[in-house]
Symmetry: C2
Subunit: 203 residues, 2 copies
């Protein structure tokens, strides 16, 4: 099994992209519920089974790039500058992600998501996956070690911040309010939390 020489992979990626593009276009034109899987498959000129070999579900057609999202989050932790504090790094990345979602170009898609119960539900499960991945990254972070429970809790809080900010009228203001809360929660898990001296802000 050597490396694939490309054409096959390119064709596969092209088919996948064509399906995703077609789906999104139809969903935005006629509404998510009004478009059936068979419509998407026909318009993309593939069989229904082919569609499902590229996407696990109808909802997954809309969240095509959620792996990017997850990678950006975990890399904000694992790839940050040495000794850079964790929470501010996450804050920066979450802000960037929220800006990305609330940009004008993405607005119609998110309006569609917010008005479809099926899509909202699906997004919640996607967020859970992201929270788990983030928790793993945080737990593996060097420096003063916190418990796994603390890591998982902070990861959820960060995902909550993203979710609340995305829905807020003023995302930046929401983050400005929530992230100090997260910072305080994080400080309290510090190994030196029992130290009566001034709180350390080193991470």
């Amino acid at each position: 099994m050597t490396v694939q020489s490309g054409r096959r992979e390119r064709k596969k990626a092209a088919t996948r992209q064509k399906i995703a593009d077609t789906a999104l276009r139809l969903f935005l034109e006629r509404g998510y519920d009004a478009v059936g899987i068979r419509d998407v498959a026909a318009e993309a000129d593939v069989a229904v089974t082919t569609l499902f070999s590229h996407f696990a579900s109808k909802e997954a057609l809309v969240f095509e790039q959620d792996e990017d999202f997850e990678q950006r989050l975990t890399r904000a932790v694992t790839g940050r500058a040495p000794h850079e504090p964790l929470i501010p790094a996450l804050r920066r990345e979450v802000l960037a992600l929220v800006r990305h979602c609330t940009a004008d170009s993405a607005a119609p898609v998110w309006r569609m998501i917010d008005t479809s119960p099926a899509l909202r539900k699906y997004e919640e499960s996607v967020r859970m996956r992201h929270a788990d991945a983030l928790a793993t990254a945080i737990a593996a972070d060097p420096g003063p070690t916190r418990s796994e429970t603390a890591a998982r809790a902070i990861a959820r809080f960060v995902i909550d911040a993203y979710s609340l900010a995305r829905e807020a009228a003023d995302p930046q203001a929401a983050l400005d309010e929530i992230f100090p809360m997260i910072e305080a929660a994080w400080q309290v898990t510090s190994p030196s939390a029992n130290d009566p001296g001034p709180a350390t802000v080193l991470d």
Copy 2:
């Protein structure tokens, strides 16, 4: 339209309960995925459409009492003793709820939920509803007023605590770790948070 004199309501509740009991029994006997809606309806001796007039979905059959859950949470806020601090009251209730879920009698049901993707996903959306209800209760709480954003964030954190504790090997220990984090996050939203003096613990 006067008050219903009972018989009709009792019959309706009985039908609903019979459906729920039958469903849970079959699910536990044969596995959630192996039991179809038509099986449940037949065994409960009702029509499929009747089943769906009592429950919105197959998953809802399993989360029959989720409104109780929501009420207990919101009442832990709205019905607590005057001047009782918010977070400890929530901690007590969450601990009771987690104990309830992890009790031996409920264990098989939760094992079923944890192993079925469809049920896990559904539970996530139920938790979101609970978080929203809790946020409303917190926002309406008298005393030092916090912003709506802060209320929503704390509500999510509390639901996260419940969820993480329920899955943890030692639920009590998990709550002992997470609730101080929530308390710290809550303190930071206090109107006197900018006060350089000692932190108030009054609510």
